[in-house]
């Protein structure tokens, strides 16, 4: 073998910092685009990316990954997965692709931010791979759902969603834009790669892969678990930054960025992943509950890495652990109740057997969300469908842009977290979201939530019909109960059985 080993020349390829003289360092690395907290270039000299890859290794390994994912898709194209899948599972796919695919493309731009404005060459090089990875993720996650567009108009939203003002999309954009594309390079490294990608993406791309495998959707399972192999590499961009910031007296700044990202990611995942795992995935295919996946990936694996790298637990950790038990049930109920305002058909997931599973996994469920579902179920049993639908808008949070909701029933712990800032009133869903706003109000203060736009007269006519038009949803796209209320018949049969 006369080819050099990778490590023989790796360090040379990342020794590319120089001292500019024809333009100033400040012009070359403006603080807003670099986010170095005033630390000099030398502070970043010891940046050492832990997961090392070279260009030739990258294209070879990635070629192999794509060959695998695309061949699984091709091999399974005639497998009738689509025809045989439960309606709830198809909703999982619609929600996933619509919320994720083009967000990945935006992540590529964020990686570009690190390639250009990162202060360490190793960071810039790894982000070059990250930039490529995210193009992969957007392209492959558009190509896979495209095969379904001719079967169901809702699959058009795998592409269309990001161009609309659909409320869940406003929420997704608000989160992703805050974590990725509007931050300087160090901010991207801390908030996107470290906090989000070493933590939460595992939930969506591995936890959900486990459910997909159980549900027999091998094409999707293979796709998303393959995507996560890229994430696990380029997510490592952030770790060395944490250490550099902590070492140079910027621990508080690092901690704040990570805390903001974790709280915001949690809120989004409580609606993106929670309902999918605990309600849409057919009961017999649920590998673990959402809470169990959260415990495995976020608490057991990610949280301890914060401590390992010199940060502390976020100040909201106790709130967070409580919310893991509670928040996503309300998100699910809200999505289902306002189902015409989403591009997928939410599965209620509250048949007698499913309720028993929920009570088992979340003791007390029947005495909280169960109360609301009791009323809904009665209406559905009696054919009083109008009462299973909304006639007004939920009030959404001025940070996460999601309906402000919490635990109902005798516990009734839902409340508003208001704030008046510079003469304007804001409404938040939680202490966490309000805290994020207070850290840097100028990032958020003149943004309008869906409710703000409604009150501002931008939605005409000012009713639910006008709101649907504003959100880009037409009949054929609007969501409905995934099982067309077949689950209500299970309730009826159950009652008859019990009565006899």
């Amino acid at each position: 073998m006369t080819v050099l080993n990778r490590l023989d020349w790796y360090n040379i390829a990342r020794d590319t910092n120089w001292t500019p003289t024809y333009v100033s360092d400040k012009d070359l690395f403006p603080e807003e685009l670099t986010c170095a907290f005033g630390l000099p270039a030398e502070a970043f000299e010891e940046y050492d990316e832990p997961y090392k890859t070279t260009y030739p290794e990258y294209v070879k390994v990635q070629r192999e990954k794509d060959a695998g994912a695309y061949s699984v898709k091709a091999a399974l194209e005639r497998s009738k997965m689509y025809e045989n899948a439960s309606p709830g599972w198809l909703s999982v796919l619609k929600l996933h692709f619509g919320a994720i695919a083009r967000g990945e493309y935006s992540a590529s731009s964020a990686e570009c931010r690190m390639v250009r404005f990162g202060r360490a060459p190793g960071m810039r090089n790894m982000a070059t791979f990250g930039m490529m990875d995210e193009i992969r993720h957007s392209q492959i996650q558009l190509f896979f759902p495209h095969q379904y567009v001719s079967k169901d108009r809702q699959f058009d939203w795998a592409f269309k969603s990001y161009d609309t003002n659909e409320w869940a999309m406003i929420a997704a954009r608000h989160f992703f834009d805050d974590m990725m594309v509007t931050r300087g390079a160090v901010g991207v490294g801390m908030m996107l790669t470290f906090a989000f990608e070493t933590g939460f993406t595992n939930m969506q791309f591995l936890g959900l892969a486990a459910d997909a495998a159980e549900a027999g959707d091998w094409s999707f399972s293979s796709l998303i678990s393959s995507i996560q192999t890229d994430e696990s590499r380029h997510a490592q961009i952030g770790g060395p930054l944490v250490q550099i910031l902590v070492k140079n007296g910027k621990k508080a700044e690092a901690q704040k960025m990570v805390d903001i990202s974790i709280w915001r990611a949690w809120k989004l995942f409580s609606i993106l992943t929670g309902p999918v795992m605990d309600y849409y995935t057919p009961l017999e295919h649920r590998k673990q509950s959402f809470k169990e996946f959260m415990q495995e990936w976020i608490v057991g694996q990610f949280e301890r890495s914060l401590l390992e790298l010199g940060l502390d637990k976020p100040w909201f950790w106790d709130d967070f652990l409580r919310e893991i038990d509670e928040q996503h049930h309300g998100m699910h109920l809200g999505v289902w109740f306002w189902r015409p305002t989403v591009w997928w058909d939410p599965a209620a997931g509250v048949s007698p057997a499913e309720r028993q599973w929920l009570e088992e996994k979340y003791p007390g469920w029947n005495d909280t969300w169960g109360h609301c579902w009791d009323v809904i179920t009665e209406n559905a049993l009696e054919g009083n469908m109008a009462k299973t639908l909304p006639e007004t808008l939920p009030v959404v949070c001025n940070m996460c842009q999601l309906p402000i909701n919490y635990t109902p029933g005798p516990k009734w712990t839902m409340r508003d977290f208001p704030l008046t800032h510079a003469g304007r009133d804001y409404h938040f869903c939680s202490e966490g979201c309000r805290w994020v706003f207070e850290q840097e109000p100028s990032r958020y203060k003149d943004h309008q939530s869906l409710v703000d736009r409604f009150l501002d007269g931008q939605i005409q006519p000012p009713d639910l019909g006008g709101a649907l038009k504003f959100m880009g949803l037409s009949p054929g796209e609007m969501g409905d109960d995934a099982l067309k209320f077949a689950w209500v018949e299970e309730v009826r049969a159950d009652r008859i059985k019990k009565a006899s």
Partner: protein, 94 residues
Amino acid sequence: MALFPLTSNFQEDFVLQLVAVDTDNNMDEVAAAAAVHSVGRRVKARPGVLRVRRQGASEPFARDLKVADAGLRPMECVEIYWEGSTAHLREPRH
């Protein structure tokens, strides 16, 4: 007479909702308007009088108090609950 938006937090419901009332409405009318979106949809109807209070207040507004005279800000969160029920004061956190 003017439209006035409020945020309704209805007892035992799970979500805050937008409720449009009129500044001339009294609190019984506010409660009734809020109930439309909760009672019979996700909250079981029960007998008794519905009261309205400011979030966090220990006492409800007078039933005949007009919205215009309540000192509420647009979109302020009000809690609607059945008089005499165990609607304890709300915790400042969840």
